[in-house]
């Protein structure tokens, strides 16, 4: 492989982000399975890191993203603190949502991450609205909403994409297609030619990309974001990837054809592929090992810190419900 005009800095940055995501989720899975410290469900994005890294590398801190139940990677890549995120997964004080949201509702408004969502597809219209506000306010930020392949079968997909074209909003919809919806092969429940065809029919320019090629994702997202920043119309990106784990950290995913996951792990892992690219580009094995080592050290420390954090103060259960009326009515 020869690589012309290769941007080494970006290449290393992409790898770093992916390694950090992988390490974060490996620690999160350990915290769940080994330590029983994560009590709610977690949905790892192991094997899908290329999409998060590639897309987010083109966003500024004040650009906005929204994500799904499988959103650790997007959130980290957008710049959230791994410690605050890990605390959130453990339901602790100092978690980015004060321990109230957990993995499925992770959010960090400081870095423009307006929330994962436990309801499939729900963020699509909300993201369109965020872009709508940007346009109303005459702002120059852009919005990226990421959702899964299963989300394209719910109504909000149509309503939100239609909304974005009708109001001509600065938004990129990314379908992170890991080929499964929980235990179901998504294609078996999806009519027609899939995500991009639907988006095109709704008036969006749609692009397809190999989601496990972080460089390709970064390239195509760069072009799209540039168009959006130049006042372009809403766009759609279909990034094909693969979920190497079960649906949740506890799901053995026995419903997959034998060997399928193993093949992807061996031949189509976005981190391994990026490492190969970097090696070809002349980066030393040692440099790559260091990146991984640092990522792992960061996340081991994040878990240690999170586990040492107290649970939130009991009284916070009545905080941030709403301004009017007391939530603590004499219910019990």
């Amino acid at each position: 492989m020869t690589i012309e005009n290769f941007n080494t800095d970006r290449g290393l940055a992409l790898l770093t982000v992916m390694e950090r995501i992988r390490a974060f989720e490996e620690q999160a899975c350990l915290a769940a399975e080994r330590d029983k410290l994560v009590l709610g469900a977690i949905h790892p994005s192991i094997g899908q890191e290329g999409v998060a890294a590639g897309v987010m590398s083109n966003l500024n801190k004040d650009d906005i993203i929204l994500s799904t139940h499988r959103g650790h990677g997007h959130t980290l890549a957008k710049g959230a603190s791994s410690v605050a995120m890990m605390r959130e997964l453990l339901g602790r004080e100092g978690g980015c949502c004060g321990g109230k949201g957990g993995s499925m509702h992770i959010a960090d408004f400081e870095v423009g991450m307006l929330g994962a969502n436990g309801v499939v597809s729900a963020n699509i219209t909300i993201a369109a609205g965020a872009a709508h506000a940007i346009k109303l306010l005459g702002d120059d930020r852009i919005v990226v909403d990421i959702f899964g392949d299963g989300a394209i079968n719910r109504g909000p997909f149509l309503e939100g994409l239609n909304w974005s074209t009708v109001f001509d909003l600065p938004i990129l919809f990314v379908c992170e297609d890991n080929q499964y919806s929980a235990t179901t092969k998504t294609s078996s429940m999806t009519g027609g030619d899939g995500p991009a065809a639907r988006a095109t029919a709704l008036g969006l320019r749609a692009t397809e990309v190999d989601g496990n090629d972080a460089e390709a994702v970064a390239d195509v997202a760069a072009e799209i974001c540039a168009r959006l920043r130049a006042g372009g119309k809403p766009e759609f990106l279909h990034a094909v990837t693969y979920r190497q784990t079960g649906h949740t950290s506890f799901d053995p995913a026995a419903y997959r054809p034998e060997g399928e996951a193993a093949k992807h792990r061996l031949e189509n892992d976005p981190i391994a592929r990026q490492r190969d690219i970097l090696l070809t580009a002349g980066i030393s094995e040692q440099a790559l090992t260091d990146i991984r080592g640092e990522a792992q050290a960061e996340m081991i420390e994040a878990l240690r810190l999170a586990a040492a954090s107290p649970f939130p103060d009991d009284d916070t259960v009545f905080l941030d419900v709403q301004d009017l009326g007391s939530p603590a009515v004499e219910a019990y």
């Binding site: 949502c97 109230k100 509702h105 959010a107 929330g115 219209t125 609205g129 940007i134 909000p156 905080l319």
Partner: protein, 322 residues
């Protein structure tokens, strides 16, 4: 002080709010032509397309997009046209809007008003007539308002738009043309009931258009030498518990009346609260009026069978003396 209709009082509240705050905007189907009940007439001319925005027929997107826009620094007024259609956006309202602030640990607000014209309105049948206010009171995170007069529709809508909580704003479709004095300087504190009539003998608690019927009933009761106090709750969440409890402590008798289905209606909450907290003040049986647990039919006579009327409130009040 001017005389205005219930509809125009709301329109004026929106106009003033939009004039003073450039982040306020309205979105819903057909708003550009004034909205289905004319509640937005003239506003597009004044504020333009972007701030009086049409929408595709897509309630989920209207609700969801308005929420996204509320999190990003604007204050949307969402028009749902008929309260019934808001059911197409229930996930957005209940799972998203009501929960976001808490779920995200206080990082976000959803300062938005969701207008849902509700109630019986000449042969509109089962899908265009519902009153589901009790649903929303049951959902933590939401404010629930039910104005019954032009003044309240003006003052409450202004306060709702200024409020940082998401507000479910339930106007009654049958009183758009109801006229009354409106004082633009009159401010109200959301959550305070309005005592529409003071009285010593029996407390009648109501809201929305039924509160107007309760005032009528009180006049009739006066002729029968029963001095009724009429409390128009106006705000169901928060609701003015002390106004109700104080009144019952004083009168010793209670009638609760609402248009929505009695079973599981918000009237039950009021009666239950009274039973829990001031049972010993009661001098007679409490009475609760609401629609039977049937559906709203198209035929006018059948529709009428679902109504709580002023006469029924009179009878119920008399029954508290039995």
């Amino acid at each position: 002080m001017t005389i205005m209709t219930y509809a125009n009082a709301a329109l004026e509240a929106i106009r003033q709010s939009m004039q003073s705050d450039p982040t306020v905007w309205c979105v819903g189907e057909d708003l550009g032509r004034g909205g289905v009940f004319g509640q937005y007439k003239g506003l597009r001319e004044e504020f333009g397309e972007a701030r009086i925005s049409d929408a595709p027929i897509s309630e989920a997107a209207i609700m969801g997009a308005a929420f996204g826009a509320a999190m990003v620094g604007t204050r949307p007024v969402v028009e749902m046209r008929f309260a019934d259609f808001a059911l197409c956006a229930t996930d957005e309202l209940v799972n998203q809007i009501a929960k976001a602030r808490f779920m995200f640990g206080g990082q976000s607000r959803a300062p938005m008003v969701i207008r849902k014209p509700m109630g019986l309105w000449r042969s509109s049948a089962a899908q265009h007539s519902q009153s589901l206010e009790s649903w929303y009171v049951h959902i933590p995170g939401l404010v629930v308002l039910c104005p019954a007069t032009p003044q309240d529709n003006y003052s409450m809508l202004k306060a709702a738009i200024a409020c940082d909580d998401p507000v479910v704003y339930l106007e009654h479709k049958n009183i758009w043309a109801l006229e009354g004095d409106v004082d633009f300087d009159h401010q109200i504190t959301l959550g305070e009931a309005s005592t529409r009539r003071t009285g010593a003998d029996v407390t009648i608690v109501s809201w929305s258009n039924t509160a107007n019927l309760a005032v009528e009933a009180a006049d009739t009761l006066a002729d029968k030498n029963i001095d009724a106090e009429v409390i128009d709750l106006r705000s169901l969440w928060p609701w003015d518990k002390s106004a109700v409890l104080d009144s019952v402590r004083k009168t010793g008798r209670l009638v609760v009346a609402h248009e929505s289905v009695a079973v599981g209606g918000f009237g039950a909450e009021i009666v239950a609260t009274v039973a829990e907290q001031v049972a010993s003040s009661l001098k007679g049986p409490v009475r609760r009026l609401g629609a039977p647990r049937s559906l709203i039919a198209y035929a006018p006579n059948l529709e009428d069978k679902m109504r709580v009327t002023a006469e029924m409130i009179v009878t119920a009040a008399q029954e508290t003396f039995e």
